[in-house]
Symmetry: C2
Subunit: 681 residues, 2 copies
């Protein structure tokens, strides 16, 4: 038997010769094998679990005898008794090399764990967060060689973890001395180093070994809703997801009305800033409560949002974003202290990262979509549409990526719709209209049953049937068109014209009754001519934005369409195409990416390398400004119709045939048309 | 005539060939000549004034013709009309090279101006503050190449001033867009870059060209008083100096009683932190009002203080400083945001620099004294004593510097003295006692006259005669010893023993009456036996500290003694030696350095290079801990006597002869002596 032995690590395949008695953890570190450890090899953290293999391994050129590792020891037994450990596993810091051996590092023992996203796409996310825990043993103070506790802690971090240049905020300084003494000169610190930082900051300190968890939030700050994911910064898992309405809605439904509010009301921007920060503080409490964690353990928050939300979050008057040349105060990513943003519900040392904005109308939310969906890595030409109060649109492939934003308004989110409501139990989310009888059937959120199935009414008793949400109104309008209740210009026919009592007069136009419980004091849910017009405006804006990018790219078709946004996940591709929301494409080429902006925020939260990536990506994206592009107006006007199933939609004709009706006979329409013409001017 | 001409700059002697038409400022920059400019050569700031010389300069090998510079132009005339300019001066950005020329850069046109200190020492201070003003022209936004206003400002700073990596705080971001537009895309920014920063921070922004001044404060935060200097960061001039009592006094007179207060009262440290921060905010207002400046123009503050004050300022419980091993939370220098310290009276983006501490008992104030007095640069062995509630003592020369701190208590500042008061109008500050008649004469602050001169009473009418300040009590005790009213053990003789009615009984001991207006309802100012004891304890501590360092250095004498501290400036060297406050030295070798700690703070404020210097110096200083050194106790006890004019004070005998009296006959003394013995134990 020689003094050194061959150690082969799988799955990396890294290998080396080590002396008898070398701990596996030490061997792993020397070879650069990705084996986790928080306690620095003291047998406390159990992060360094490995699985030894014995026997013959011709592939690795190793024959591992059963005694190739040191015996199971008391530290390992204590850990197993206390917290449990899978049979066959060893602690890498305890087991030492005694012979040639093959050692497998299971995925959960890797520092840079790869986490499969919950969403449809199966890409993986590599853990490398800005904030990590480190356990260290600090030298005790010596009167004759006086130095501060912080300086000795920094020296320990340098010696044990090779962390140079450490600073601590005042709140940590005030906790440091008691923590060191209580922990017997051993502490765990939460250390933060952003992707552009030269210094590491101590965000918190605990006596002794701490493994109670550190958390981060990924927040998609939308004009209408604020959605947050609470993530465990150790493994990237999502512990809770929650959302609230953006309270700025009381200052204006859409972005431009909020900018106007700031213009017209001195201090109005500050009111909106306070409102949204307060809402985020509330949301922080809510999500922490939901996940049963202490909100003081939230050390990082990543924000994605459109430029107006971005400025209002930061406390900047968005007035310049309301007028050409739509100049952002700052476009690059921002690393800030949460307390400077008034975000007081999380740890007072918490850090905030805000993704970069692409342009004055194309925000950090679009950047997050780009980070999540990576159009620049796509071989085929992909159109990504993130539907919200503003739609962010990306078009591109490996060669080039274009981006723009389009002011769809809140109609797609169920706002400004007569029976509209947000997606909550009781809201109609799916609808079908029989083309012969013109009778509807529908599903509401909270029930699995269709409205014509047995037990439906019972299943909705708790929530009631309260309105239509965004995806519901899109289906309703598309179904009405397919059932011949709407003509291509968007006019609702009368009862006479359509042959159903459900088409009722409303003012000088008509409406379609989906559900009527008014006789028993319940709601009457209708789709009005005004609702149709709102959806037409929204979908025209969306379509025009996509077309504009296709013009710039010099293409007539795209290979793939990705519908992003929380809402995008619920849109039926068929109905979206019937409405003409998106360019014509084979139905199989249309997919949903879920909340891509939120996913982008999570990626930026869990991996600091991705922050650099998105900064570079954003610089490389070609920005297209819809507001000043005459062709946008042209596309917008042309897209107003609810299309025929033919030209320019050959793919659409493969899935539906649209009736060729026309109801353009009444005064009501010329009135609506007049409004439309004024918008064009 | 050739196309290029020789330009020689004085006083630097730098020289080079430049093409016809090159502005002098451009030539200066290319040669690295220290010629100031804030506006970047636009003829706005007038910082680049130079004085051309014409004629023959054999020393420089130049003959300068009268037309060697371009003609006086309209920009220069406008500036001269509006603000005035010394005849013969030119603006370096306007005057261009037309022939060989010698150009003098007057001191006020240098960026790194050298400012002669107000204090006794004539060393100069080189201006290189962390915060400076820069004027830039920013590119206007372009919708087709969208980028943030901040990013374009950063690009301009890079292009015009070679400033890389610029960040802005949120409060600056919110002002940036209006400032750029109001200034027609020209702004002035206050840019801060600390000596360890990799990034420059924009602390403020003004539309167009701003020259209204930026300021900094140098604060000596003492246990008893807080003293501040307000400095102009452009030229280092002191605009105002002001001080307040440290309100922490209500929690304890000296450091150890404040540490005890924190130990005994939960949250007591926070009360003291709030009190001192509030006082600093008040002082900021006061000093700004005095200097007639807007406190929002204060962008930097430098603090020097002892370790307990240091921790309490930072919001750290000082409990560890009250017990061995006297561990500091952090010993290195700190760069912080003023708002994180609750310092809200200055600009909200203001930065704070706290000098490093030397050891648990030797603070940033001692570091500041070292920075000001530079013992490590001294050829001869210098003893520097900074007298306050704690005395900081430095001993050293080029080879080695030692430092310690000694707990003198507040007696030297007039506190814990029966008729003591702080140095203010009405306080007796100088005193003489006739050795024959035993009659006193004295001076009070606010009057130039001695008490036995005509018109004295009138001259003190406004202030009254209210008490004795620190320097007054030292002179009083020394004079009493010289007049034979005190024996070497410190006992005051009775009227019988001394032959003067002014020695009156007080309890079991005696007191000496300096001034008695009690019959007319005025004060009766006496020096009591208790006062003598307080001074004895204080001076013994001071002397013992100095002796301890001399022991460590292995010397019996020092070459020079420097008395620092605001109070040090007022102590009479002779009286200090009679008291035995300082080791024996020729009177001519004892000097005063004024408020050396405050000067050190000013140096750190005005020159960031000095911050690096003091960090290195502090690391190199040998720290001596008095609290655990048995020899300190020994020296302390031995130093208790008020010495004879002989051994161990040969130099003292050259200036005074001290009467050999003894009053050690009364019960009162054995009582006092008993107390003293208990202290020894």
């Amino acid at each position: 038997m020689t003094d050194t032995h061959l150690v082969v690590f799988t799955p990396s395949g890294k290998r080396g010769q080590f002396e008898t008695g070398t701990p596996i953890l030490t061997a792993a570190r020397q070879l650069g094998v990705d084996l986790d450890s928080v306690c620095g090899g003291r047998g406390i953290c159990s992060k360094c679990q490995i699985t030894p293999s014995f026997g013959e391994f011709p592939k690795h050129g190793v024959t591992a005898e059963p005694d190739a590792l040191s015996d199971w020891n008391a530290v390992e037994q204590r850990y197993k008794d206390k917290r449990g450990m899978i049979d066959g596993r060893r602690l890498g810091c305890q087991a030492t090399v005694q012979g040639d051996i093959v050692v497998d590092v299971p995925p959960e023992s890797q520092v840079h764990k790869q986490v499969v996203r919950k969403a449809a796409s199966d890409r993986v996310m590599t853990m490398d967060p800005a904030t990590k825990l480190y356990f260290v043993k600090v030298q005790e103070p010596d009167m004759h060689e006086p130095s501060g506790d912080l300086e000795r802690l920094a020296a320990a971090l340098k010696a044990e973890w090779d962390v140079a240049d450490v600073a601590a905020s005042l709140s940590v300084l005030s906790k440091l001395q008691p923590a060191l003494r209580k922990g017997g000169w051993e502490v765990t610190v939460a250390l933060h180093k952003g992707h552009r930082d030269t210094q590491s900051r101590i965000l918190d300190v605990w006596p002794g070994y701490y493994d109670g968890g550190i958390y981060g939030m990924a927040i998609d700050l939308g004009s209408t809703t604020i959605a947050a994911h609470l993530c465990d910064l150790r493994d990237g898992s999502v512990l809770a997801s929650s959302g609230v309405m953006n309270p700025q809605i009381r200052f204006g439904e859409d972005l431009m009305s909020r900018v106007s509010y700031a213009m017209m009301n001195p201090g109005g921007d500050q009111d909106m800033t306070s409102a949204v920060r307060e809402a985020i503080n509330g949301l922080t409490h809510t999500i922490a409560t939901e996940a049963l964690i202490d909100p003081n353990l939230i050390f990082e928050t990543v924000f994605v949002c459109n430029p107006v939300m971005h400025h209002l979050l930061l406390g900047i008057d968005p007035v310049e974003l309301g007028q050409a040349p739509f100049a952002l105060t700052t476009s690059e990513s921002l690393s800030l202290d949460a307390r400077d943003l008034g975000l007081t519900a999380m740890n007072q040392t918490a850090r905030v990262f805000v993704l970069p904005c692409i342009a004055g109308h194309v925000g950090a939310d679009a950047a997050a979509v780009a980070l999540s969906e990576q159009p620049g890595q796509s071989d085929d030409l992909v159109l990504i549409v993130d539907v919200g109060t503003n739609a962010e649109i990306l078009l591109g492939n490996r060669d080039r990526v274009l981006a723009c934003s389009s002011p769809t308004g809140p109609a797609f989110e169920g706002a400004q719709i007569s029976s509209g409501q947000r997606a909550a139990p009781g809201a109609i989310e799916r609808i079908e209209i029989d083309p012969v009888t013109k009778e509807p059937r529908f599903q509401v959120i909270g029930s699995q049953l269709w409205s014509d199935e047995d037990g439906f009414m019972e299943s909705t008793q708790a929530s009631g049937i309260t309105g239509i949400c965004g995806s519901g109104i899109i289906e309703a309008v598309a179904e009405m068109r397919m059932a011949g209740l709407l003509d291509p210009s968007g006019l609702i026919g009368s009862a006479d014209q359509t042959g159903t009592w459900r088409c009722i007069p409303e003012g000088r136009t008509n409406a379609y009754v989906i559900y009527d419980a008014s006789e028993t004091g319940g709601p009457k849910i209708t789709v009005t001519q005004g609702d149709i017009r709102a959806i037409q405006l929204a979908k025209s804006a969306l379509y025009a934005g996509a077309r504009l990018l296709m013009d710039d790219m010099g293409v007539e078709t795209v290979d793939r369409v990705v519908l992003a946004g929380a809402f995008g996940a619920h849109i039926s591709s068929k109905h979206a195409m019937v409405l003409g929301m998106i360019p014509d494409a084979p139905l199989s080429a249309v997919s949903s990416a879920g909340n891509a902006a939120g996913t982008g925020a999570r990626i930026a939260l869990c991996n600091i390398g991705s922050r650099k990536d998105i900064e570079r990506t954003v610089r490389e994206i070609t920005k297209v400004e819809t507001a000043i592009e005459p062709k946008f107006q042209e596309h917008f006007v042309n897209a107003n119709a609810l299309p025929h199933a033919t030209d320019p939609f050959p793919e659409l004709s493969k899935i539906v045939s649209l009736p060729d009706v026309s109801f353009n006979t009444k005064g009501g329409d010329s009135d609506t048309g007049g409004r439309r013409r004024r918008r064009r001017a």
